[in-house]
Symmetry: none
Subunit: 306 residues, 2 copies
DNA sequence: GTCACACTTGAAAGATATTTTCACTCGCCC
DNA sequence: GGGCGAGTGAAAATATCTTTCAAGTGTGAC
């Protein structure tokens, strides 16, 4: 058990992940657990001082709930959460630069908007990278690399992410299609079979228009992958491999769709690079070929000279 | 006593003081206490994992000695020393960024790929934010906010960025169109006139298919904006306002298109937020309206309940 | 509307970790 | 050599953390 504690703690995440984890896992928690998680996220440094009993009291819950929350957050018990909290607080203190953490307000000057947006997206990237399950990624990459055919489903903002992935996969010689029309998506999904890959992108994890084709593909025996912010969503039921994106807090001016995109794109890039690595023989020449084919579409004024 | 513990811990020293303290206080310690202090100074991170008993065993001493050592070091007990140790280790680690700077190689394990990609994109974001000319952005935002009609041109990867922008602008009630077909783009550009905005997105700054429609719009008297990595490129000739994106180095596996996208999206987000701020009266209700309209497209399985 | 079920929750028992006590050892000085 | 005192660890005492379990609570089925 000590061994366990050690391992779990060692694999603790760097930096901001704690708050991200609270956000990501919050939906799967019960009300009182959420209260605890919230308190912890709100002031890690202070909570690191508290004993289970004290924290339970402060959040108006019981010791048992505190321990349960610690478990959900990925620690073997409260003791380890507490250590992580102390570490997190220290790290935060070390790296906290400015007040770019605040929400974007309606009357923020543009310079602030730029700074805050950049900061938030950076945060999102860090959170996503930290929260991504590499073994799931590995599995998804393997499936894609050897797929006979790849179908990608995404609606709205996620549709663009899907197109991005497909564009890239096409470049390295894979057969991929992006679908944002749910009917056509299902129609096409029927064609899939074992050895094919279907990939659904949905932030909410509950977008029916995307789940339906994935389900169809799943039923036909294709390998299914989901990129979602809610690994507990309905989409998970039909996904062989789940790639979790970070759920960053959203503000009035910055809808969820906006931040989820950053997260999704990072995952998509990882998939692409992974596939490119594993099909390097084919991918490398294909990449340079497509590169050269495009060259003449640029005016020759190119000072880049190439 | 609990109170005491709190205070003592709060006044903990920042940074490297731990090793210094061990050195300073070493003379006043007994032999076995020194052994403990030494072990702690040698590897704070590892010691943070150990219980009193474990640390006592490891240093060949007893629990009592460990506690005494903690006291000498200025903590009310071992528990607090342990917390401080965790914090210290984290802080130390924060200083050392890591070697994620290297290029992504063909044989990198996926975990590294994720880390490196995330890091590079973070870098790109920072560079873009730093290099963005806020006055140009301001001007572009003003033009968009009051535009009668907005046309966006982008090809390839940039087409997706354009679509992203258009999607968002439509959400807040603006009239915007994305064009990735050069012929149609030009055909549409002819319709533009003063009060309209044409926006071209091109990483290279020399994509003819995008420059052509922008030029047409420019000639027709529309306000023209360019989002490009090469402000000295051909596209600049026909752009009233130029928004510069960062040009990050590209590697074999990570083509320019990939990194430029991150950069372009940040700029696009800034544009959007800026416009949303300036048309808040109209934008806010429109945003929530589109949000609600979408709600029923999601399955009601929301596990958030309870 | 009522019942049954599953899930949530906190109280208290149980296990662990930390702190304190105390007796013993060892080295030193007389 | 014997007494004295600091240093030390074993074990008791306490604090802290974890688990269990029974009661509460809401949800869905009939």
């Amino acid at each position: 058990m000590t061994q366990n504690a050690k391992e779990t703690f060692r694999s603790r995440d760097t930096g901001s992940t704690l708050t991200a984890k609270v956000r990501n896992l919050s939906p799967t928690m019960t009300r009182s657990m959420q209260r605890v998680a919230e308190a912890v996220a709100a002031d890690p440094a202070a909570c690191a001082q508290l004993t289970v009993t004290a924290l339970a009291q402060r959040t108006g819950t019981s010791e048992a709930t505190v321990v349960r929350t610690a478990r959900v957050l990925g620690y073997p018990g409260y003791r380890d959460l507490r250590l992580a909290l102390a570490a997190f607080a220290a790290q935060q203190q070390a790296g906290a630069p400015a007040a770019v953490t605040a929400d974007i307000a309606v009357d923020d000057p543009l310079a602030d908007v730029v700074a805050k947006l950049a900061h938030e997206e950076q945060q999102t990237l860090a959170d996503t990278a930290a929260g991504l399950d590499v073994s799931q990624l590995e599995a998804a990459v393997a499936a894609l690399a050897s797929a006979r055919r790849i179908d990608v489903y995404g609606i709205g903002a996620s549709a663009l992410v899907g197109q991005d992935l497909v564009q890239k996969l096409l470049r390295i010689g894979l057969i991929a299609h992006a679908h944002s029309d749910p009917h056509l998506a299902v129609t096409n999904a029927v064609q899939l079979r074992q050895g094919d890959v279907a990939l659904a992108i949905t932030h909410s994890g509950n977008t029916l228009d995307v789940i339906e084709p994935l389900r169809t593909a799943f039923d036909r025996g294709a390998t299914t992958v989901a990129i979602t912010g809610r690994p507990d969503g309905a989409v998970a039921k039909y996904a062989d491999h789940i790639l979790t994106t970070a759920v960053s807090r959203e503000s009035e001016l910055r809808p969820a769709a906006m931040s989820s995109r950053t997260s999704q794109l990072l995952v998509v890039d990882c998939l692409f690079i992974g596939v490119a690595q594993r099909t390097y023989e084919r991918a490398a020449p294909a990449l340079s070929a497509s590169y050269e084919a495009l060259a003449h579409r640029h005016s020759p004024v190119a000072p880049t000279a190439r």
